[in-house]
Symmetry: C2
Subunit: 338 residues, 2 copies
């Protein structure tokens, strides 16, 4: 329990959700399905576009943006459209990832492409991407200076480029036999860390932080992202299926180049032989990974990135209870559930 | 021949191409294919990513942006990153359109998805989309005021939203039996006109035009877009295959709801019966369209939109030879080749 984090979450997330709803409000009956697909993906309506709600995401990224803005002594309400933009961008990437990976379910429900087909789902992702920038442009309506808006745009646009670079590598690595730890880090730096770094940095930009503070908040976010991804990789193999919400054998079966696997492949020739074969015995793979110390290696990486995140956060001198909430959130994101 | 248009084309387009090349320059060997797919689509390299060049697009949209900026007494060099952004956005939409339509060729070469598969092609489109905003953010480096950059961002982001709305309707209409002219116009307003309107308006914004002038340039672009699309629809049925570059039966065979078809379906019950059937006799459809006056109707629409474009252009009081070039370009875009 962290009273500060709970308090902020209850205050911030409804504001972000209201902003996203305003951006994605249908303005003509012709666009009912256009907006409906996005509303469905965000967990607001069921597949028939009725009012029954599904499970929304955790909205961690917008929460970080607003916490950083507050902790940097900014007016968090000015950052709400940017926080909404980050969440929309994240969800655009999920809609396209699901098509690219052929995933039929997400958060216990059918994916957008499974319900509306690949062509409309590609376009639904593009719509969400477009809406993200439309959201970002709305910070100008909240009294954010034009120079600050342009700074935020530059950081946001670069994060988008990094995101697609990471996704490109992730897909290539699936069929690439040899991937080393450095290549893995390059991939997750784009796929996961760039957006969390951007959300933190934009929170600091809108709070008009000086460059050094802004840099520490960006590095805080980047390290949170790296820790989060490495931890997610561990949960993908050793997590509790109920808690994790997805099968703990799929990462092995699809030969995903996660951190424990990349490390294990470098250590164990038996694991390399196993991965080179046509059939992959999941239990044998897990045993070999454990024997190679891959789980310990990955968890040590999680600890290292978490500590780096905390160190940058401290150097950014976060003010008041929002600083406590950021520390608590970081710990929660990487707490051991395995 | 229009000496002014030729002169501007030779001056502007290499500057745009250089800007796009700078944005899409690979910064690490890992991203050779990431950038290579985009370079291939833009016609710079062959499928093996060698230096042999394919056929690039006509780059009409960036040309309009820079001509308008010049005609509105702005410094066209300041608008080059915005013009590059528009061209990148247009090309992102083509990469995704090709996947959505299942098109295997474009400009006589294999499409990106045909060469690299759907997952990587979706991501290549997303990369191009991301690069478009990275390009737009670069106007700040050319001395464009932050307020002007934010104005451009707002117009650009709304054009993206409109683009995806138009694409959504276009795909829905393929399987929808009845589409009326009003619905058709709503679709092309998003799919084609919004981006040409935005490129013209952003040219005027960067030239610091007053709101009334800016509005006329936006309306000029919108009407050019509508005329261009209606004309393209006519060419899709009655054009010369060699000139048009695609089969003149495919629009009929795929039952595309183009302007002549939408009009013809409203006029002719025989055509409606033909379109309701499982098999579609192309020659019979063309005969019925002609008998219903669908070609004349569509060409009259082309003329009407062209005249509206010219009227708005006149009211925007374009200065010097760039104004002549804009008039010439408009005429060229909709000149009869059928």
């Amino acid at each position: 329990m962290c009273p500060a984090l709970d308090h902020y979450t209850r205050q911030f997330l409804p504001a972000v959700e209201a902003e996203i709803k305003a951006i994605l409000e249908s303005d003509h009956p012709s666009y009912k399905v256009y907006y409906g697909m996005m509303h469905y993906h965000l967990g607001w309506v069921d597949a028939g576009l009725g009012s029954e709600s599904g499970t929304a995401g955790k909205r961690i990224r917008p929460l970080i943006c607003l916490l950083v803005c507050d902790a940097a002594s900014g007016n968090w309400e000015q950052a709400v459209p940017a926080a909404a933009a980050i969440e929309l961008l994240h969800n655009f990437s999920l809609i396209h990832d699901d098509i690219e990976d052929g995933s039929r379910t997400r958060r216990g429900r059918k994916t957008v492409w499974e319900l509306w087909g690949v062509p409309q789902a590609i376009n639904a992702g593009d719509s969400m991407f477009s809406s993200a920038y439309a959201a970002l442009a709305r910070v100008a309506d909240r009294g954010v200076a034009a120079e600050t808006t342009v700074d935020s745009l530059q950081v946001f646009a670069q994060a988008c480029v990094q995101l697609t670079k990471g996704q490109h590598l992730d897909m290539r690595y699936e069929t690439q036999v040899s991937v080393d730890v450095e290549q893995y880090l390059q991939m997750i730096a784009g796929k996961t860390a760039a957006l969390i770094s951007a959300t933190s940095e934009i929170g600091a930009i809108i709070a008009s932080s000086e460059p050094e503070k802004r840099r520490h908040f960006a590095e805080f976010g980047r390290n949170v992202g790296l820790a989060f991804q490495a931890h997610d990789d561990v949960l993908g193999i050793w997590g509790n299926e109920t808690t994790v919400g997805k099968s703990t054998v799929s990462d092995i079966l699809t030969r995903k180049k996660t951190l424990p696997v990349v490390y294990g492949l470098a250590q164990s020739s038996e694991l390399r032989d196993l991965y080179a074969g046509a059939q992959l015995d999941v239990q044998r793979a897990v045993d070999l990974l454990e024997a190679a110390g891959a789980k310990d290696y990955a968890m040590a990486a999680v600890d290292r990135y978490s500590e780096a995140a905390m160190a940058h956060l401290a150097k950014a001198h976060p003010a008041g209870p929002a600083g406590d909430a950021l520390r608590k959130l970081t710990t929660q994101l990487v707490k051991r559930q395995s």
